[in-house]
């Protein structure tokens, strides 16, 4: 794995990992968003043959990140699971059992439609709208009215991507971490997710994830 990149924000120490997640050193929290576990299974159930390796590797990458950062807890900023219960999620349950001591918090996203008791059974603490800690708030989508909170907000949901135009009509798109003035958008952790182009403003900070490396733009 490539080394994470240090980013100091509001006097907090954030490590941006090229595996599309973030480690908050002060709190020892691993923050991930939009994992969409079970998505390939959901497609396969509908007769669409998506290679299941994409799910296996997502799960594997998450384990690797946990082993690397050794977080006190994991925060998922929404869209942990893609849809209804399926066999892929059974594999997740097994994995959860093996890591039973690790607290996992979920701030619900629009895809998180599993039954409440399922989260309880798998020891996942669910936060309906947000989770606040120190200078930060975590919520899946930005509220319609941005000024409701005084904290700096971490969101996911849109799967941010950045367009880099080259010569001769060539252009490349990369997932990115996006830090605006009052909020940040995390890249989607799951690899079976698309990209939504964002248009940063001048003052905004942007870190593209290009070929397993973090590149500040």
């Amino acid at each position: 794995m490539q080394q994470p990149t240090l980013f100091k924000h509001l006097q907090q120490t954030l490590w941006l990992s090229p595996e599309r997640c973030l480690f908050w050193e002060e709190e020892q929290w691993l923050i991930v968003s939009d994992i969409h576990f079970g998505k390939s299974g959901h497609f396969r159930k509908a007769g669409i043959g998506i290679p299941q390796t994409v799910f296996k590797e997502d799960l594997h990458r998450l384990v690797t990140q946990i082993q690397y950062f050794k977080p006190k807890q994991v925060i998922v900023v929404g869209d942990f699971f893609h849809s209804h219960l399926n066999n892929e999620i059974k594999l997740f349950e097994k994995w959860r059992n093996d890591l039973a001591s690790l607290p996992i918090h979920l701030v619900k996203g629009n895809h998180d439609i599993l039954a409440t008791d399922w989260y309880a059974a798998n020891d996942i603490t669910v936060h309906e709208t947000q989770l606040v800690k120190g200078p930060f708030a975590f919520m899946h989508e930005l509220p319609a009215n941005e000024t409701t909170t005084s904290e700096y907000i971490f969101t996911g949901h849109i799967h941010p991507g950045i367009h880099i135009a080259g010569l001769g009509k060539q252009s490349l798109r990369f997932p990115c971490f996006y830090f605006a003035e009052q909020y940040a958008v995390l890249p989607a952790f799951g690899r079976f997710t698309g990209l939504h182009p964002i248009r940063p403003k001048k003052k905004d900070k942007l870190f593209a994830i290009a070929e397993q490396r973090i590149v500040e733009l």
Partner: protein, 832 residues
């Protein structure tokens, strides 16, 4: 008298014709004769010449001869004639014509139509008792194969007719037809030990023999070609601009000539104006109204993004001569004849001889009428194309249609179709599929891979998997789930449109459809033009764009994402030959012996000759230019945009090996430009080497960004192959967790299952169609045998200007800025 003419059926039909004062054409009698003898083949005849009757009456004669005593009363005969047509609109007309014959002959046949518009009640009726004639589209035919017990329908089938085969062949719809034919033929064979005849009906194409081979492949017969040999007289006239701009610039001249178009419209009953892109057709429609307000209500717009009902209205109005003119795109290339059309105007290059002829043929529709077509250039150099087209028409240089090979996506769809009706046994179907032209080289291992993909869904995590599609039940491959079957039924077909959103007025009323990618760049309040109306975007909601009328003068004309057409090989060659005429002008011939188009361009050619050179067909011209943008290398192979795209990339790669340079590349149908910030080391010592055919394949792979091209191809393949499902309205909400873009699927497969058959097909299609590898190779060979002429002109030449101007588009300048800049460049060059 031959055998046919002695038959009872012949005399019945003949006397029916005579009673109407008609005589069969020789090609019709010839076809009847072959049908009587149970021989298959292709009828080659232009539209409007009785091609339908050649096959239909042949089938009737055969039936009468088989049942001479009771042919009039005999009913419930089961399906006799299956009539496959690519166009829904044609079905009604053909059906009507057939009904008329049946009624007048007092026969008891019924004629059925089966397409997307057929009601469920009608379908149920047809299922109970099949009509003797079924007119069907390729898609509906596959839906037919998706019904239980479909095979019974083909028990007594005598003849399968495939109308407009030249249109179907070379497309995936043609492959659908091939597969359906193989199934029907073998169904009958296994029940009755006999095979139906297959007759194709085709306009002239360059490779009619191939067309026959492809069509008849599954019955394994050579068959015959019956030619109507009716030559249509065509008059081509160019609309000449009053003043020739020696520095032409693509796309901006056309509209300027609009004042010359209005008298043409006024003079003829009805005029069709063909425009190459939907965006430009919107502009033309607007400008025509601005210049001739009196035409309001008498002109209409017809293109693929206009609401179906409105298009239907335009077509009906064309039939009844209610319209003076229709501005249209390729959307009106095909289809029923509009008799009132007297004149056709082609705006801009038609890019190919056949397309031009087809459009010309839209006017003057009775067999002996003259077709008149005006060619209106969108930049002055296109006049050379007009001259080239005239030569090509004289020599009947019609393009070939290349049949498609090994389309895995269509095969996967077809196997799912069979799996939802009665299921299939792999050994039986493999042999059938191999009997088609498209899949004759299909390998056993590819077949097994496809079956495996359908049954197992590719790479899976055994006990954690939910994949379910085709199941194997005692050797029978079947889809059991009703939901999956329904889902598949909704997705049968190979015509893939871009992601489209409906456009509706806030006050109600449907305007048309628009590409999602265009609308996603607009903000509420922005104005755009669609279906000739100025609209203001209000909001986008549930896959619908809500708009209201706008009075704003500044509207954006949507640019549709249809690929730009490229010059065909035939027209390219003719174009190069036409330049011979230009190079020799002033020498041997008197002025009046030259094409008027070329004479009109003489000042432009003089300038080209003076500054550089006019390339003959055995020469390749290369020009070096220097400007404040950098160093330009211009090459003029006249092979069409598509070939130039690959050729320029290869050349850039090869030059890059001589010196570490970065290029920006631009091209049009005539040539291409490499632009660099440093001098480009190409001279007469190394030029021939740069165009060598050696290592071509390897250099293609190293230079062309095949991944990006394959990604674009993958969208259609993913839809046809069932990876992306199109949902019925109302189902969208339920299926929202099943949405993934083709691009995302492409990434996932590339990364996690790179050997997937559909992914491989995308790359193959890039090679065959996008890069046209065969044509590219031919072009390199031709250049290898040509003299390479390298010129270093003092300033920009007429040939290079349109390419360099087009190249400005690449840089992220807004369109206004480009326009200003090109005008400044033009003015400056003219002054010098």
């Amino acid at each position: 008298m031959n055998e046919l003419q002695q038959s009872f059926g012949y005399s019945e039909i003949k006397s029916w014709l005579s009673a109407k004062g008609l005589q069969p054409f020789p090609f019709q009698e010839e076809t009847w004769q072959y049908i009587a003898r149970n021989v298959s083949g292709i009828v080659n005849a232009p539209t409007g010449c009785g091609k339908t009757f050649s096959v239909f009456l042949g089938a009737l004669i055969r039936f009468i001869n088989q049942h001479p005593t009771n042919y009039k009363h005999k009913s419930k005969n089961g399906l006799q004639l299956l009539w496959i047509t690519p166009l829904r609109a044609l079905a009604k007309d053909i059906g009507r014509a057939m009904e008329e014959v049946i009624t007048e002959l007092e026969m008891n046949w019924t004629i059925g139509i089966r397409n997307g518009d057929t009601t469920t009640a009608e379908r149920a009726k047809q299922k109970k008792q099949l009509p003797e004639v079924l007119i069907i589209t390729p898609e509906s035919l596959h839906l037919f194969l998706a019904q239980k017990n479909y095979a019974d329908a083909f028990r007594n089938l005598q003849l399968i007719a495939v109308d407009e085969w030249h249109e179907l062949m070379g497309s995936k719809r043609g492959v659908q037809v091939e597969l359906a034919l193989s199934r029907i033929v073998h169904c009958q064979w296994s029940m009755q030990q006999c095979k139906p005849m297959i007759w194709g009906i085709s306009a002239t194409i360059g490779n009619l023999n191939d067309a026959k081979e492809v069509l008849l492949s599954s019955i394994g017969e050579d068959g015959v070609i019956v030619r109507a040999n009716m030559k249509k007289q065509i008059i081509v006239e160019s609309v000449l601009p009053d003043e020739i701009e020696n520095y032409p610039w693509a796309g901006h001249l056309g509209i300027k000539l609009i004042h010359k178009v209005i008298p043409i419209i006024e003079q003829s009953k009805t005029t069709l104006i063909f425009i190459n892109t939907r965006g430009m057709s919107e502009r033309w429609y607007q400008e025509l109204l601005n210049h001739a307000p009196e035409l309001a209500g008498a002109i209409a717009l017809h293109h693929g993004s206009i609401e179906q009902e409105l298009r239907q209205w335009v077509e009906d109005a064309l039939h009844t001569a209610k319209l003076k003119a229709v501005v249209c795109t390729a959307s009106l290339d095909l289809g029923v004849d509009f008799r009132p059309v007297e004149t056709v105007i082609q705006v801009g290059s038609p890019k190919g001889v056949s397309r031009f002829l087809q459009r010309a043929g839209r006017s003057g529709h009775s067999p002996d009428a003259v077709s008149k077509i005006y060619f209106l250039p969108t930049h002055s150099l296109e006049l050379v194309e007009a001259a080239a087209l005239k030569h090509a028409i004289e020599e009947e240089l019609i393009e070939s249609k290349e049949p498609m090979l090994l389309c895995f996506d269509v095969l996967i769809q077809y196997l799912n179709t069979l799996a939802i009706s009665d299921g299939f046994r792999p050994d039986e179907i493999f042999a059938e599929v191999k009997s088609t032209y498209c899949y004759r080289d299909l390998l056993q291992e590819e077949w097994e891979e496809i079956l495996k993909f359908l049954v197992e869904g590719g790479k899976a995590l055994q006990q954690y998997d939910d994949y379910k599609k085709i199941e194997i039940i005692e050797g029978l491959y079947k889809i059991q789930s009703r939901r999956l079957a329904m889902q598949h039924r909704l997705n049968i077909g190979t015509i893939v449109s871009d992601a489209m959103l409906k456009v509706k007025m806030v006050s109600g009323g449907y305007v048309g459809v628009i590409e999602e990618y265009f609308i996603s760049r607009l903000e509420p309040g922005d104005c755009f033009t669609l279906a000739g109306r100025n609209l203001e975007l209000v909001q986008i909601k549930d896959m619908t764009v809500l708009v209201r009328k706008s009075t704003s003068k500044k509207t954006i004309v949507p640019s549709w994402n249809g690929g730009r057409m490229s010059l065909t090989a035939n027209l390219g060659r003719k174009l190069r030959e036409t330049f011979n005429e230009v190079a020799e002008s002033g020498r041997s011939k008197r002025p009046d012996e030259h094409s008027p188009e070329l004479l009109h361009l003489s000042s432009l050619f003089q300038l080209q000759q003076q500054l550089s050179h006019i390339p003959k067909d055995n020469e390749l011209l290369i020009e070096h230019h220097e400007s404040k943008d950098g160093y330009h290398l211009l090459v003029y192979p006249f092979e069409g945009r598509q070939v130039h795209e690959a050729m320029s990339a290869i050349l850039a790669f090869r030059i890059g090996k001589l010196a570490p340079l970065t290029f920006s590349i631009a091209m049009n149908d005539y040539g291409f430009e490499l632009l660099s910030d440093q001098p480009i080391p190409v001279d007469d010592t190394n030029a021939a080497e740069l165009f060598t055919i050696e290592n071509l394949t390897a250099d293609i792979q190293r230079s062309v960004n095949a991944t990006e091209m394959a990604r674009r191809k993958f969208r259609d393949i993913a839809v046809i192959g069932g990876l992306i499902t199109q949902t019925a309205p109302g189902e969208q909400k339920k299926a929202r967790h099943l949405q993934a873009s083709a691009s995302l699927l492409f990434n996932v497969f590339s990364e996690y299952d790179a050997k997937n058959v559909l992914l491989r097909q995308a790359y193959q299609e890039v090679f065959d169609q996008q890069m046209e590898e065969v044509r590219l190779r031919d072009a390199f060979t031709r250049i290898g045998n040509s003299n390479i002429i390298i010129a270093v002109p003092q300033k920009f030449t007429p040939l290079c200007f349109p390419i360099i101007a087009d190249g400005l588009n690449r840089n992220n300048l807004s369109s206004e800025k480009i326009e200003d800049r090109i005008r400044r460049m033009q003015a400056q060059l003219m002054r010098e």
